[in-house]
Point group: C2
Chain length 294, copies 2
Amino acid sequence: MTHGEDALVARLQRALQRHGRGVVAGIGDDCAAVTGPGRGLLLLKTDCVVEGRHFTSRDPAAAVGWKAACRAVSDIAACGGRPAHALVTCVVRAAQTKRWLDGVYRGLDKAGREFGFDVVGGELSRTDGPAVISVAMTGTVARRALVRRAGGKPGDVLFVTGVLGGSLASGWHLRFRPRLDEASWLVANFRVRAMMDLSDGLASDLPRLARAGGTGFVIDPKSVPRRRGASLKQALGEGEDFELLFAVPPHEADRLEREWGKRWPKLRLTRIGLLAAAGTREGLGRARGYDHFA
Amino acid sequence: MTHGEDALVARLQRALQRHGRGVVAGIGDDCAAVTGPGRGLLLLKTDCVVEGRHFTSRDPAAAVGWKAACRAVSDIAACGGRPAHALVTCVVRAAQTKRWLDGVYRGLDKAGREFGFDVVGGELSRTDGPAVISVAMTGTVARRALVRRAGGKPGDVLFVTGVLGGSLASGWHLRFRPRLDEASWLVANFRVRAMMDLSDGLASDLPRLARAGGTGFVIDPKSVPRRRGASLKQALGEGEDFELLFAVPPHEADRLEREWGKRWPKLRLTRIGLLAAAGTREGLGRARGYDHFA
């Protein structure tokens, strides 16, 4: 005989398959125990989706689980790493049934299968307010492959993958694919000096990348790749694009553009400008990204 | 110029000191990057506190941060490990000011100083409902020191540390000290076959420990150590005790009791019963632990 929470945990656990390696103890112990990154570095990331802000009660539960997981995968990709293990905290309303949670876990499991991580633990709790799904994820990266926000130099060429803006209207925010393989390929083949994923909009995220490296930036707003139907304001400020923003030294830029098209013919890569001397901030105008606390 | 969220992150970051080692990249990058556990195992745990359930708006914010961190430390201790790094997700109401978040981070930092972990990242978001503070924590443990819930054998002696019950009424749930040093000492000096921390009450947690090992249990309810003023029902079922429940082989039990008193003279250790053949469940009566989903 198991109580409600134990039975629910067992039910959710059945939705999860093993996609990776190195799990010594998983769901059902006080902690998960896994093998570490060996001589590499361990990447740690946590991210959450809040009902009414990042998803609605009308969105398919599996898409909510997919999004919750893929947000963290996107950050691990942007550091040059690969995801390994995930812990999931679900704080849910009474109206969110077991079936809804099953759906969330199906989405988490699908993301684990696609991107090679295992859900090894989590926590369930109740709330009277909006549901919160929080995903903590580990990843691994070789020391020499770690890419940070800092590291860009004035003159480095700025690129973005994909198209920006209209993520909410198009539903991209629920079904995006983190640029994991693309980021691994970039780091393996080019000198990527600085990289991050675009989650709050270029107008918030580019200044962060520049500030982290002690540089400024000059971009051409007309060059910013927009999703069909998205305005420039949306492309700069809406957020939830989950594309890569990165900087490479000038002599790498041409070779990258040539090789990108051969390797990733279906995904657009756009040169949007340059890093510049500290203090220079050109091309964003008065655009602002998304800020929970503005 | 930084936006609201960036400024808030910078403010909270100032509350955090470095208590451990091995942080290559921390707050301000897409992920934290840290050194791994070497040849040992990596422990992973996530736990959350929800306003109105695990704390109230009248509780001191620093105590809320302390509790959020120490719940995870308690689980890492119960696996025989030591905490290393933490990620903190704060989903807060508009009425929860910067000062309230400062307090939460002071509590997190204090726990880090006491128990030797660093907060290396996190996430801030807004909610219109109860606040949620979720802490994901890593730890390290030598392979031979890992203790799980499974592993107990019929005849093993069951012990609990401290006293049980009355955690809410006494305020223990906000100021408890995870039994980290005690657990490390136990694992280093005795054959601890199974261990867990008591978070949902002995009446929920003991059956979990027994089930994990394929055993039953016989306890003497009169032997269960109670906090002053707590009834047996409260000691068995209230939860949030954050004491250790563990099983050692019979020949270790007497030696443990002698040495415990010398090493930990201020902390009670109580023999409450034995693991037994599967199916045997004696001594809990109709007591039930806390269950979010009962």
